[in-house]
């Protein structure tokens, strides 16, 4: 807003209006004004502005601002409650978002059913496969399970049959002893190594986390509602 050339800067004119210039500066400015109509007009207008501003009416306050006991008690509470309300609301929203995220995550993990149960089912099949082949079924069975003797039992009975056959061997050409084919008995499930819960239910930890966060979100939501109710009450009686 300063004027270039020989004109007086606004700051000097403003200070001249308020008689804030020292004697030399004021004398120099007044000397210029007598010869420069533009600066004289600006000075006049600035004086008019100041006069108008000073003439603005002083307004009567619309109400009394004295503090009553109620207001004094409530005012800090309102400030505190507003702060708590903001924090509680943000916390509830954040926890709810985390809850939704975890829930969706758990559902997503659950929605991949083929992978997890298939691996669990595969184990018994692997265990029964050798038994079906009949090569070392008793051994395999005895190795696999305690009730394996049930699978090994055919062996002694087969030997007894052999001895009975020896009596008749004298007259009859012994028939080739049929090799007892091991009956593929249902192999009891081998004691699996301790299966972790993550293997059983991969979504378990996520679901647990979601449950915890969900409870926290619900508690925070209730707290938020309580704080809001108190805040509204305080504002009503403010």
């Amino acid at each position: 807003m300063t004027h270039s050339g020989d004109h007086i800067p606004d700051e000097t004119l403003s200070a001249l209006v308020d008689d804030q210039l020292d004697a030399d500066a004021a004398g120099s400015a007044r000397g210029h004004i007598t010869t420069c109509s533009a600066c004289r007009q600006r000075l006049d207008e600035l004086r008019s502005v100041v006069a108008l501003l000073r003439a603005l009416p002083e307004l009567e306050p619309p109400r009394d601002f004295q503090l009553g006991p109620r207001r004094l008690v409530d005012a800090p509470n309102v400030v505190r409650l507003r702060r708590w309300y903001t924090v509680a609301r943000a916390s509830a929203a954040s926890l709810a978002a985390v809850f939704v995220f975890l829930s969706v995550g758990a559902l997503y993990i659950d929605s991949r059913p083929a992978a997890a149960p298939a691996t669990l089912e595969a184990k018994p099949q692997v265990a029964s496969a050798p038994a079906a082949s009949g090569q070392s079924a008793p051994t395999a069975a005895s190795r696999l399970a305690a009730p394996a003797p049930a699978a090994a039992r055919p062996a002694p009975s087969a030997q007894a049959a052999d001895s009975d056959q020896v009596v008749a061997v004298t007259s009859v050409r012994p028939l080739p002893t049929p090799v007892p084919t091991p009956v593929p008995t249902p192999v009891p499930r081998p004691p699996r190594p301790p299966v972790t819960s993550a293997e059983l239910d991969p979504a378990g930890p996520v679901r647990t986390g979601a449950a915890i966060i969900g409870v926290l979100a619900a508690v925070t939501l209730v707290a938020t509602l309580v704080v809001r109710h108190r805040l509204q009450h305080a504002l009503t009686h403010f």
């Binding site: 004119l13 403003s14 207008e45 006069a51 000073r54 601002f65 503090l67 006991p69 005012a75």
Partner: protein
């Protein structure tokens, strides 16, 4: 009185409120341009003052400046909130043409306080208030303290916690901008002339 208020004596503080509330309200009103906002700001400032009165360790004579500083900070907060709401901003009005100015200026109510206290017409007062609202907050506060409230440069510097040179600089820029705005609105020199005729 001040000591008693600092020790939580509400009655003593209310005595101080009665002393300063009018000036605080007027500063808030001229800064915010709205009676409702000014009343809220004044009340908030006084509550803040009561809560923080223990921290005031200046002389009793500095209480007015301290209270005004709190009020000004409260007004700044309100102005910042307004800037986040462009619909409420008066910047658009300041950039608009003069015809729109007059309608926008109507928003700035000037309740006045009776014909005997008015040396300006209500319309002129509205135009001046609208022009004040167009100033940047720092300049607005400076011109309100120095020209509307009649504070000296030193007092204004104390209230705003700035250097004396800053007050002079802000004040000169504010006056120059007001001069331009009022010339554009046709208030200068006509209103000044009328004012001079009423108060020769």
């Amino acid at each position: 009185m001040l000591k008693a208020a600092q020790h939580g004596d509400v009655a003593a503080f209310n005595t101080l409120v009665l002393t300063y509330q009018r000036q605080l309200y007027n500063v808030c009103y001229r800064t915010l341009g709205s009676p409702e906002d000014a009343a809220d700001a004044t009340q908030d400032a006084l509550l803040s003052a009561f809560r923080g009165l223990r921290t005031f360790n200046g002389p009793a004579g500095g209480l007015r400046a301290w209270l005004l500083r709190i009020a000004i900070n409260t007004c700044y907060d309100q102005l910042r909130r307004r800037q986040r709401r462009p619909a409420d901003s008066l910047d658009a009005m300041c950039a608009a043409d003069p015809e729109q100015d007059s309608s926008a200026a109507q928003r700035v109510a000037d309740p006045g306080s009776g014909p005997e206290q008015r040396s300006l017409s209500a319309e002129t007062a509205r135009q001046i208030q609208a022009a004040i609202d167009c100033l940047p907050p720092d300049q607005r506060l400076t011109v309100i303290l120095c020209d509307v409230q009649g504070f000296s440069y030193d007092e204004a510097a104390q209230v705003m916690a700035v250097e004396l040179g800053t007050v002079k600089s802000r004040l000169s820029r504010a006056r120059a901008q007001l001069r331009e705005l009022l010339v554009q609105k046709g208030e200068l020199p006509a209103s000044a002339q009328r004012l001079h005729e009423r108060n020769p």
